[in-house]
C-alpha cells in the first residue's frame, strides 16, 4: 500500500501578522508546526502501514524551512518526504496549490490512497483535498472519522455528517480528508527522531515537476487576495441616565419601540 500524506507547515500561533504588500502571512520569527489537522492524517497513514504494510510518503509545498515539518513527520513514522519548494510556487491559492501537489502525486510511482487533514489552521479553506481529487480524477471522501476497511482497490470509511454518521465505500486510488475524531496522534519516538535527522528530504521545484511557471504560485492562481482587513467594531450600546424610575421608563419605551413588549 502506497500511502501519501499531504501536510502543511503553519505558524504555531493564532496571532499571525499579515504582510500589507502581498496580503500573505508573515512567517518570520514565528515557531512553525505541522498543521494540527494534518497530524491526524499522518497518524492514520502510519497506523495503516503498521497494520497492512506499505510505505508512507509525506508531501508538502512550502518554503525551504518547511523541511523541518517533514523531518518531524519522519520522526512520527513516515518513510519518505518530498518538499515542493520553488520561488515560483509562492503565494499560491488553493487551486494552484492543489495543482502543484497533484503534479507531484503523478510523479510518484503508484499511489493507493492520499490522506489530508480536513483543513489548515491558517488558511482554513478545506479546499485543497477536494481540488486534488478533481484534478487527479480520484474519488473523494471528506471528514472521515474511521477507516473501516482498506484492501486492494477497496476502501470503506465512516464519515461524520450533520445528522449522524455515513458509511461509504469506494475504489482506490482515492483521496480522503480526516476529522480529528479519527485517532490520537502519537508522540515521536527516539529512534524516529534519530532517523529523521539523517533522512534525505527530496526537494522538487518547477523543473523537477515539469510544470509551466504560469500554472503554479501566484501566476497560476485563479483567485487573489486583494485586501485583508479586520472588521470594524461598531458599538451600539446606549447608556440610560436618570434615577432608577426614569431609567425603567426609558427602558420600557425602548422595548416597546423594538416591539419586544
Amino acid at each position: 500500500m502506497n500511502i501519501v500524506v499531504c501536510l502543511k507547515q503553519v505558524p504555531g500561533t493564532t496571532e499571525v501578522k499579515i504582510d500589507p504588500q502581498t496580503n500573505s502571512l508573515i512567517r518570520q520569527g514565528i515557531q512553525n508546526i505541522i498543521n494540527p489537522f494534518d497530524t491526524y492524517a499522518l497518524e492514520e497513514a502510519v497506523r495503516m502501514k503498521e497494520k497492512s504494510g506499505g510505505k508512507v510518503t509525506v508531501l508538502s509545498m512550502g518554503p525551504p524551512q518547511a523541511e523541518a515539518a517533514l523531518r518531524e513527520a519522519i520522526s512520527l513514522g513516515a518513510d519518505e518526504a518530498i518538499l515542493l519548494s520553488d520561488r515560483a510556487f509562492a503565494t499560491a491559492d488553493t487551486w494552484a496549490t492543489a495543482n502543484t501537489l497533484s503534479k507531484a502525486i503523478l510523479k510518484l510511482e503508484k499511489t493507493d490512497i492520499i490522506i489530508c487533514g480536513r483543513q489548515t489552521i491558517d488558511g482554513d479553506t478545506g479546499q485543497v483535498g477536494p481540488e486534488m481529487a478533481e484534478m487527479l480524477g480520484f474519488p473523494f471522501v471528506a471528514y472521515v472519522s474511521k477507516i473501516e476497511e482498506i484492501r486492494d482497490n477497496y476502501l470503506r470509511v465512516t464519515r461524520a455528517i450533520e445528522e449522524g454518521h455515513e458509511v461509504l465505500e469506494t475504489t482506490l486510488p482515492a483521496i480522503i480528508t480526516v476529522a480529528k475524531e479519527i485517532n490520537v496522534p502519537r508522540l515521536p519516538s527516539l529512534r524516529g527522531i534519530m532517523k529523521s535527522k539523517s533522512t534525505k528530504i527530496t526537494v522538487w521545484g518547477i523543473k523537477e515537476l515539469g510544470v509551466d511557471a504560469n500554472t503554479v504560485g501566484l501566476a497560476g492562481s485563479s483567485t487573489q487576495v486583494i485586501k485583508i482587513f479586520f472588521p470594524q467594531r461598531v458599538s451600539k450600546a446606549e447608556v440610560l441616565t436618570g434615577d432608577n424610575a426614569q431609567k425603567v421608563d426609558k427602558l420600557l419605551e425602548k422595548l416597546r419601540e423594538a416591539k419586544l413588549l
Binding site: 502519537r186 508522540l187 515521536p188 519516538s189 527516539l190 529512534r191 527522531i193
Partner: protein
C-alpha cells in the same frame, strides 16, 4: 546552567519532558487519587523508546548509561514521581542481568525490556531485611532442574505488574549473605504469586507489592553470575542505581520550584504578588540553589558511574542523600509558599511533598548511606581524594 549534554542526551531529555507535559500532567492527580498503575503511560514511554535508553544497542537498546537514565527519570519526576519510579524500577530490574548475565540470558530478556513489552523489577527487601539487607530469609534450594524458591519479598516496586524479576535469595542458607544469589524469575512461574498491595503516602500510582514464592521452581539457567555473589551484586547494583533516585529527587525539586514560583507570581496579598515579598524571595532562591546543587551532584555522580570507575559508593550515595534531602526541603517549602491552597489536593505541591519522603528511605536510607560514606572516610585516613 549548561551541563554539556550530547545532542542525543538533549533529544532524550526533551522528548521525556514532552511526554511528561502532554501525557502525564493531565492524568497525574487521578492516578495518585485512584492509586492506579499507569499502564497507558508505560505504553507511551515504550512507544517513544524510553525503555531503550538504558539497554545496550546489541539488545535493541540505545546504549545509554546512568546519566541518560537519570535525564529521563528527572523529567518524568518533574511531573509525576510515581511514574518516574515505575520507569526507573524496570531499569533496576535488569541492571544485574546487564552486568552479570550471559549472552543467552541477555538475548532472552533484554529486548523485551528495551521495547517496553515487559517491565522489570528488583527484589531484595523482606520483612526481616530492610536496611539490614543481608538478613534475608528467602531460600533457593538447588534441586534437579533448577532452584526451588521459598519465601516472601516485601515492598517490591512494580510487583505484580512487572514480568521479569531479579530476586536475591539464599542458595546456601548456612552462609547468610554470602550464600545469596541473584535469579531471574518470570511472572507466571508456578509457585510465584503476589501478596499484599501496599497503600502508600506518596508515589501512589506506582505498584508496591509482596512477592510470594512457594516451591517455585526456577530453571538453573536463570542464575545470574556465580552462586553466592548475590549480595555483592545487589550492593554494586545500588551503587550504580542511586544517582537515579537522586534524579527523581531533582525532578521533584524542579517541579516544586516551578509550581511555587508560578503561585508566588500570581497570588496577591497586601495588594502585591507574593513574589515581591523578601521573605518569599529568600525561600524561592534557596529552593533554586538546592535544586541546582542537587542536579550538579547527581549528573556528576552519574557521569562517574558511566566512566566505569571502580568504586562509586561514596559519590552515588552522596548524590542520593543530598538530592533527596533537598527534595524533601524544597517540596515542604513549596507547600508553605502556596499556603492553604498548597495543602489542598487541587494543587500539585502536596503530592510532591508526599512523593518526596520515600526518596530519603528507599535504596538505602539516608542514615545508612551516611554510614557508608563515613566508613569509607575512616578507611581512607588520608586527607586528600
Amino acid at each position: 546552567m549548561d551541563y554539556f549534554l550530547t545532542e542525543q542526551q538533549k533529544t532524550i531529555k526533551a522528548l521525556a519532558r514532552r511526554i511528561a507535559e502532554e501525557r502525564i500532567l493531565p492524568v497525574r492527580a487521578e492516578l495518585d487519587e485512584k492509586e492506579e498503575f499507569p499502564w497507558d503511560i508505560v505504553k507511551e514511554l515504550a512507544a517513544a523508546d524510553m525503555f531503550r535508553v538504558f539497554v545496550p544497542e546489541e539488545y535493541d537498546g540505545l546504549g545509554g548509561g546512568c546519566l541518560d537514565l537519570c535525564l529521563v527519570t528527572e523529567e518524568l519526576s518533574r511531573v509525576c514521581s510515581g511514574i518516574a519510579v515505575t520507569y526507573a524500577a524496570s531499569a533496576l530490574g535488569c541492571m544485574t542481568l546487564m552486568e552479570y548475565g550471559t549472552e543467552a540470558q541477555k538475548k532472552k530478556f533484554l529486548p523485551d525490556i528495551a521495547s517496553g513489552n515487559r517491565l522489570g523489577a528488583f527484589a531484595i527487601t523482606e520483612p526481616t531485611a530492610g536496611s539490614d539487607s543481608g538478613n534475608i530469609k528467602t531460600t533457593a534450594e538447588k534441586v534437579a532442574g533448577g532452584y526451588l524458591l521459598n519465601g516472601t519479598k516485601q515492598f517490591i516496586t512494580n510487583g505484580g505488574e512487572a514480568e521479569i524479576y531479579t530476586v536475591i535469595a539464599l542458595t546456601d542458607k548456612t552462609k547468610g549473605a554470602r550464600g545469596a544469589s541473584a535469579l531471574i524469575v518470570e511472572k507466571d512461574t508456578p509457585g510465584f504469586t503476589f501478596g499484599k498491595k501496599e497503600k502508600k503516602m506518596g508515589i501512589r500510582t506506582s505498584a508496591t507489592r509482596e512477592l510470594v514464592f512457594r516451591n517455585c521452581l526456577v530453571p538453573e539457567e536463570n542464575l545470574l553470575g556465580k552462586a553466592g555473589l548475590g549480595f555483592i551484586q545487589a550492593m554494586r547494583l545500588f551503587d550504580k542505581s542511586r544517582p537515579g533516585i537522586g534524579a527523581q529527587a531533582v525532578g521533584l525539586c524542579q517541579g516544586a520550584l516551578e509550581a511555587a514560583t508560578d503561585y508566588a507570581q500570581e497570588r496577591v496579598q497586601f495588594d502585591q504578588p507574593l513574589i515581591t515579598l523578601p521573605v518569599v524571595q529568600q525561600m524561592l532562591a534557596d529552593m533554586a540553589i538546592q535544586t541546582e546543587a542537587a542536579r550538579a551532584l547527581v549528573y556528576a555522580a552519574a557521569r562517574y558511574v558511566d566512566s566505569g570507575a571502580k568504586s562509586v559508593t561514596e559519590s552515588s550515595a552522596a548524590a542520593k542523600v543530598f538530592a533527596s534531602d533537598a527534595a524533601m526541603k524544597v517540596t515542604v517549602d513549596a507547600v508553605q509558599i502556596c499556603g492553604g491552597a498548597g495543602y489542598m489536593r487541587d494543587y500539585p505541591v502536596e503530592k510532591m511533598m508526599r512523593d518526596a519522603k520515600i526518596l530519603q528511605i528507599y535504596e538505602g536510607t539516608n542514615q545508612i548511606l551516611r554510614n557508608a560514606i563515613a566508613v569509607n572516610l575512616r578507611k581512607r585516613k588520608a586527607r586528600t581524594v
